[in-house]
């Protein structure tokens, strides 16, 4: 075991960890930060999507000890971000949330897309969200929510 120090949502956080621990495990079990969900642990499902130095990645595929000099932003850290707020509102309005397990990962991925591309077409949305699995909604309402959030943001509401 070792003491790891990682900057999460702008705050330097520290906890005991096993050297081989993933960032996902460290966030959840070490820091009690439960927004990133633990499901596949192999980068298949996107439930643990976070931003690592601004880039959308699966926290399960990041070695926590290798992220010590990086900036990690989880879904909790996006609470006050206007794009994320628009995405969350659109998810509710479009019915993109059912059981909710995949939702945080989707919200991070959707916000990440809309920051890069404020007016994505249908296929760009599908491609951008291809790393996130949802077993409830059938995706259509999530795609719709993405377009809705994009529209809201463009109209400046």
């Amino acid at each position: 075991m070792t003491q790891l120090r990682v900057r999460v949502n702008g705050v330097e956080r520290s906890a005991q960890a096993w050297e081989g621990e993933s960032l996902l495990y460290f966030l959840r079990e070490g820091l009690g930060q439960f927004g990133a969900k633990n499901a596949c642990e192999q980068g298949e499902c996107g439930s643990c999507s976070v931003l690592l130095d601004g880039e959308l990645v699966c926290a399960c595929l990041v070695l926590a000890a290798a992220a010590e000099d990086s900036e990690v932003v989880t879904v909790e850290g996006l609470c006050d971000d206007p794009v994320t707020i628009a995405v969350q509102d659109a998810m509710v309005a479009a019915g993109g949330v059912q059981c909710g397990f995949c939702t945080p990962g989707f919200v991070v991925a959707m916000a990440s897309l809309l920051k890069e591309n404020p007016a994505p077409d249908e296929f760009e949305v599908r491609e951008a969200l291809s790393g996130n699995l949802c077993r409830c909604t059938g995706y259509l309402r999530i795609f719709e929510a993405t377009q809705r959030a994009a529209g809201e943001l463009r109209s400046g509401r």
Partner: protein, 278 residues
């Protein structure tokens, strides 16, 4: 397990027994599932010496370049590699996974690998003992096995821009997040008058289809290397058969050998038609 974050290339190469960690998309799965327990992990993520990409007549891509960055750097050039990079995983995976990591893992299903073979790419390998160059064709020895020595890093990969007549095709159950059931890269370099065809996921290593390459080169020769002329259906079908004959597929959970041979022939026909018109 000991973890070092290498700040310099020299530091990364200090321990010849180290296990390199790049994007983590393969290594972390092994660690998460308890399949591997490396003694010393050296993280090379973000290492400046591996981060460069130069795209011109000669392309150089650092081993640490992620597929997202590679896609941005290539733009409309090197279409086969662009197509391959775009089929890798998902945005999350492409933001993490690197070209050097694809080579380090050295899977027959590694999406960039058939393209590197078809581009006749050269690897720059560096260890504490020095630097060497190796053709991709001499690099891969088997599934997960390469000529890379312990402690040796893929510093960069280089190739000559082969022009627009190049195609990458991949068969799988989805467009995203799929390990290729079979893949094919075809590069028809009109300027240098060469054709290379390489196959992924249908053998223990990336396979070249030498007879098919010679046949396709004959077609380009006949039509004129500079001209955009589609092959006849019969020629395309024969090309497909020759490519399928070069495959050495097995039955596994992703597909049968028979299906793989079938799909390789199909992809080859399409690749030839697309390359001939590009």
């Amino acid at each position: 397990m000991r973890v070092t974050r290498a700040a310099t290339l020299e530091a990364a190469l200090a321990d010849p027994e180290a296990t390199f960690l790049a994007g983590g998309t393969d290594l972390m799965v092994g660690i998460n599932f308890g399949r591997i327990r490396p003694v010393h992990v050296v993280s090379i993520r973000g290492l400046a010496e591996l981060a460069g990409v130069t795209v011109s007549d000669r392309v150089t891509c650092g081993g640490g370049v992620t597929f997202t960055r590679l896609l941005k750097a290539l733009g409309n050039s090197n279409p086969a590699l662009v197509q391959a990079a775009r089929t890798i995983g998902s945005p999350q995976i492409r933001n993490a996974g690197t070209l050097g990591g694809n080579l380090g893992t050295c899977s027959p299903a590694g999406d960039a690998l058939p393209v590197l073979a078809a581009l006749d790419a050269t690897l720059l390998l560096r260890s504490g003992a020095g630097e060497r160059r190796l053709k991709f064709d001499d690099y891969m020895l088997g599934p997960g096995r390469s000529a890379r020595q312990p402690g040796e890093l893929v510093l960069a990969v280089e190739w000559e821009d082969a022009g627009p007549a190049q195609v990458f095709l991949k068969a799988g159950t989805r467009n995203a997040m799929v390990i290729a059931v079979a893949s094919l890269a075809m590069v028809a370099d009109r300027r240098r008058r060469t054709v290379r065809v390489a196959l992924g996921s249908v053998g223990p290593v990336i396979l070249r289809a030498a007879q098919a390459e010679a046949f396709a080169a004959g077609l380009f020769e006949e039509a004129g290397w500079e001209r955009l002329v589609g092959p006849s259906p019969a020629a395309a079908a024969h090309f497909g058969e020759l490519v399928a004959a070069a495959a050495r597929p097995i039955d596994d959970h992703r597909g049968t050998a028979r299906y793989r041979r079938h799909v390789v022939a199909l992809m080859a026909r399409r690749a030839l038609v697309r390359a001939a018109r590009a």
